[in-house]
């Protein structure tokens, strides 16, 4: 008898030191469907997938059937060989290798049966693959030169290139914009037509309802249930995920908009952006929209003193300021939540506490010496306030789930008590519950008279949260839209240029 399921996982448990990540969960995926896996940050979604792909061994007692047959997967190689591939939540490019070398890593083409690797053929096949996915990149580019969004596209291409029967996509759209998402969905539908099954993980509700056939929900490492997409709506899904009703997603509150806090005039950086002028007022949330690579991140990095401006002036409270290093920016009560959590955010070998405290050490020290009580209580409070799921403040941040890491970083910047808060993709990889919390928090900050600049590639988020939206294209500002005039169409128009 052939089963209708391509994959049946049952009774899977996983224990990490100090953390029970999964408790006897199950997951059954029908052939040729898109099966979404939903759950809050730290629910255990990635962990289950890592077990399936052979990165983590499961605790004993569970069972995996693939195409109806029991299988044991000891290594990624086993899984790939069986016809399972995966887009990992944490992007892992090999920076100094080319796109084609990255894509064909582990299965390079050779000249016949010789040992000599055929780079030419690999480049050609990569070119075909990228064309087919309508990604315009040179296969010989080094990964380190790609933007994070392009890096993600390459990883998508790589997972697809295995021609697997089951593809796991763990938050494949966390770093790309609507346009690429649409594109990815076209690819996914094509794969489905060919009988390929997909396990899809995302925190973006609209995506889930657009693409899924079935949805399985986890909460706190436990299996909650599996439903057909038609049986669910957003509210039902969310209540299954968080175990309670959730209030509004974009809890925009009215805030008194005051004087200009930060003003940028004619900022330019060769090769990245030019003539950038904008301002943001007290109590305002200023959205920055644009397609991937529009240059938004670069502008904010320059304002924050990470990279050098070639031209332009910055005013805070109407006074011209000279920011040459992030510490100057922090001194002017600015904060920057960066878009790449791993590269510029987390201190992986350090504890949750130290990760929270690091940007505001002056607060916890007197003449250089740390006040242990103060640092412990304040950081613990901050992490509780943001609902960071961690066994203790001493836990290393590298052992937290992606979403919880993000919350820690938010906590870090709130500790600096900023007046101007720049957040770059603040809810990337964050679950609905936490997302709403962060949104609420941003609104509260605005209400308290802070200025917030929010870069986001999620249009509903930008539109739902911003008082004004600045749109960038190709290193230039193409327009500015007020809240009441801002529609998806209008913003997309400007973003395309």
């Amino acid at each position: 008898m052939t089963s209708e399921f391509i994959l049946e996982m049952s009774q899977i448990s996983k224990t990490f030191p100090g953390v029970k990540a999964l408790q006897e969960v199950q997951l059954n995926v029908r052939k040729g469907t898109v099966h979404s896996l939903m759950g809050e940050n730290g629910a255990g979604k990635s962990t289950l997938m890592k077990i399936l792909i052979g990165i983590h061994p499961a605790d004993s007692g569970g069972q995996i059937l693939f195409k109806g047959n029991p299988v044991t997967i000891h290594s990624t190689n086993d899984a790939l060989g069986m016809g399972i591939s995966m887009i990992h939540q944490e992007l892992s490019p090999v920076p100094f290798m080319t796109i084609s070398e990255n894509i064909f890593l582990g299965r390079e083409s050779t000249y016949g049966k010789s040992f000599w690797v055929n780079d030419k053929e690999m480049n050609q096949r990569t070119e075909e693959l990228l064309n087919q996915l309508e990604i315009s990149l040179d296969p010989k580019m080094l990964m380190k030169d790609l933007s994070i969004a392009n890096t993600q596209m390459v990883e998508i291409a790589k997972a697809i290139s295995y021609n697997s029967e089951l593809i796991i996509m763990d938050e494949p759209t966390s770093a790309i914009t609507e346009k690429e998402v649409k594109h990815l969905f076209k690819i996914i539908r094509g794969l489905k037509d060919k009988g390929v099954s997909i396990i899809y993980i995302s925190h973006k509700m609209d995506e889930i309802f657009k693409i899924s056939d079935d949805i399985t929900i986890f909460r706190d490492g436990q299996y909650i249930g599996t439903k057909h997409v038609d049986e669910l709506d957003t509210n039902k899904l969310i209540s299954m995920m968080v175990g309670r009703e959730l209030k509004e997603m974009f809890p925009k509150e009215h805030a008194e908009i005051g004087d200009i806090l930060l003003e940028a005039k004619n900022l330019s950086r060769k090769g990245f952006f030019s003539n950038i002028s904008f301002n943001v007022r007290k109590g305002e949330i200023l959205g920055f929209a644009g397609l991937m690579g529009a240059g938004r991140t670069e502008v904010m990095e320059s304002i924050f003193g990470i990279t050098k401006l070639d031209e332009g002036e910055i005013f805070i409270h109407g006074n011209k300021v000279n920011i040459r290093h992030p510490k100057d920016a922090i001194g002017h009560k600015m904060a920057l939540l960066t878009e790449d959590r791993k590269l510029t955010g987390c201190f992986l070998p350090l504890s949750v506490r130290d990760n929270i405290a690091i940007a505001s050490m002056d607060k916890y020290t007197t003449s250089g010496f740390i006040n242990p009580k103060k640092i412990n209580t304040e950081c613990a409070e901050a992490s509780i306030k943001l609902n960071v799921k961690t066994p203790s403040m001493e836990q290393l941040i590298k052992n937290l789930s992606g979403g919880n890491q993000q919350k820690v970083l938010v906590a870090r910047w709130l500790q600096t008590d900023p007046e101007i808060l720049i957040v770059d993709e603040p809810t990337r990889g964050i679950d609905v519950g936490a997302k709403a919390e962060i949104h609420r928090l941003l609104c509260q900050l605005a209400k308290a008279g802070k200025a917030v600049i929010m870069i986001s590639s999620e249009l509903p988020e930008v539109l739902g949260m911003s008082d004004r939206v600045v749109v960038m294209h190709n290193g230039k500002i193409t327009g500015e839209v007020k809240r009441d005039e801002a529609t998806q169409e209008r913003v997309m128009e400007l973003a395309i240029g």
């Binding site: 100090g18 510490k327 960066t338 955010g345 987390c346 350090l350 130290d354 690091i358 020290t365 250089g368």
Partner: protein, 325 residues
């Protein structure tokens, strides 16, 4: 009922987690204690107070260097120059300690400043020129040795005030002075690393230099300070060595950098940065010291000592890792 068992389970798990953390932190100490027990069974001389003092006195120089090196490795760097700098400082301090010339403190401070200067130079090259610490400190290793030889014309510098001998050869309340110095440096380094802003920045830079930048940390300054502090300690070690030998030898200290790095590494300091403790380094230095001392006490032939020493160092680190899992 049910809720009770959950509580119990929780407690149990918490206990396991705590045990786990304890083992992580102190596995290397356990290994050290096992070594001590074995050695004291094999050689009755080993646990004699006099011998224990010997061990501490013998490791004091390497341990002082290793504490500075710990800071450097935590930032993700390395220091190959320690041995040569020890020699340079030894000859300079010895020449400053000539009788009837300057007060003794000049030799001590002068030596430490020379050490700090070399560290400052290495740190500046590493940060400002952005070249690998390996190369910068390899250069310093070669240059400092050359400078020591030129300064002393290749000969040991002797003839200094007898009071200089006190630094390494004296006793206070029956305990050798180097033990006090070692204790002082340990406490200061530990506080600096764990309880100050500077220390947190050291970990942060090694943990993720990009994130450190974004967090407003002036890495350049912190890293230069780290190398300078390490140089200062290496300078102190040089003064201690000159005092111990009653001579500033331009050829002294060969290979000390490896011993110091090994002590730190055995003690759990990670070469990828962001991880390590002063406590671990001290235990690492003790393991090396006890090994050297014990193998001599047991009268193991010199060639075999090498084999045993190599195997035990690697074995200790393996055991340490095992325990951590």
């Amino acid at each position: 009922m049910k809720s009770e068992s959950i509580v119990e389970k929780k407690n149990n798990e918490q206990f396991k987690a705590m045990l786990n953390i304890f083992m992580k932190k102190y596995a290397i100490l356990l290994i050290f204690i096992v070594m001590v027990i074995i050695l004291s069974i094999l050689s009755p001389a080993f646990l004699r107070p006099r011998n224990i003092m010997n061990v501490f006195r013998q490791i004091s120089i390497i341990a002082v260097i290793a504490m500075g090196v710990t800071f450097i490795i935590i930032t993700g760097g390395i220091d190959l120059s320690s041995g040569s700098v020890v020699a340079l400082v030894a000859v300079v301090a010895a020449s400053l300690a000539h009788p009837n010339q300057f007060p003794l403190i000049f030799a001590i401070i002068g030596g430490m400043l020379v050490g700090a200067l070399t560290g400052c130079i290495s740190g500046t090259i590493v940060t400002k020129q952005k070249i690998p610490a390996f190369i910068a400190t390899l250069g310093m290793m070669i240059v400092a040795r050359g400078a020591a030889l030129i300064y002393s014309d290749g000969r040991p510098i002797t003839n200094f005030t007898p009071s200089f001998d006190f630094i390494s050869g004296g006793y206070i309340f029956g305990i050798p002075t180097p033990i006090y110095i070692l204790a002082l440096v340990t406490v200061v380094s530990h506080i600096l690393l764990k309880h100050t802003k500077f220390g947190k920045y050291v970990y942060a830079i090694g943990g993720n230099s990009n994130a450190a930048l974004v967090s407003g940390i002036n890495s350049t300054r912190v890293v230069i300070m780290v190398y300078t502090y390490a140089g200062l300690l290496t300078g102190l070690a040089g003064v201690m060595l000159a005092s111990r030998l009653s001579a500033g030898q331009p050829t002294a200290g060969v290979g000390y950098e490896l011993d110091a790095i090994a002590a730190a590494t055995i003690g759990g300091v990670s070469h990828s940065g962001g991880i390590g403790t002063i406590f671990g380094t001290i235990v690492g230095a003790l393991i090396i010291g006890v090994l050297n001392n014990g193998l001599d006490l047991l009268n193991v032939s010199a060639y075999w000592q090498q084999i045993i020493k190599g195997v035990i160092i690697v074995g200790a680190v393996i055991m340490d890792k095992r325990k951590n899992r």
